[in-house]
Symmetry: C2
Subunit: 124 residues, 2 copies
């Protein structure tokens, strides 16, 4: 598919798709026109990129860990690079932290909203 369709499917503007390409996160083929041609699997990939960006992870890091996030992890393991491993562990730990933190705040918001609703239902 071309860039417009991918943009529609992922709700990510073409401008950003080109930017992610520039950052090395996606590498579409080119048609004879020069038009970018995206494979279907890139839809998922772009969604993943968006999620990671929204979670505050910069493209540099995304580029590094993206190849390791596929469900078919068995294939990719061939060079036991200790530096890569350290980095993955680091990002893994950061994610755990973020999750715990967000869970806390999610619960706090739940409580607050419930309290609002309760206050509105009983007194006023």
């Amino acid at each position: 598919m071309r860039i417009g369709e991918l943009a529609r499917k992922t709700d990510v503007p073409p401008r950003m798709l080109r930017y992610y390409e520039e950052q090395g996160l996606i590498t579409p083929r080119r048609l004879d026109n020069g038009y970018r041609e995206y494979d279907e699997y890139l839809v998922d990939r772009v969604r993943k990129i968006r999620g990671l960006l929204d979670a505050g992870i910069p493209t540099r890091i995304i580029g590094a860990i993206l190849p390791c996030l596929g469900q078919t992890s068995a294939i990719v393991v061939d060079d036991p690079d200790p530096e890569l491993r350290a980095m993955l562990v680091e990002q893994h730990d950061k994610m755990i932290e973020r999750i715990a933190f967000l869970e806390q705040n999610r619960d706090a918001l739940t409580r607050y909203i419930d309290a609002m609703d309760h206050a509105a239902a009983t007194g006023d």
Copy 2:
């Protein structure tokens, strides 16, 4: 405490503490010198701000939800503003999304790291 001590305790540079103040996230008292004086409870608050920023939440939103994240939620509920409620629910939902997303990727990283370790332990 003054800004330097708070900076040390929270690992957030003074520059950023002033910035958060400018954004309305913290409001320290002033000594007769003009020096900022921070209460102890602001340590936690700054840590919360950092966590939210790290999670990709902009200061504008942080300012809006921060008053609702205290553990003493019972006190603050007095005006049942429906707009506020809608916003809180929106942020709450976004947090849930982020959590689910991060959990997925955390698990993917876990699997990948395990696979690396396994590959290193058996073959080479």
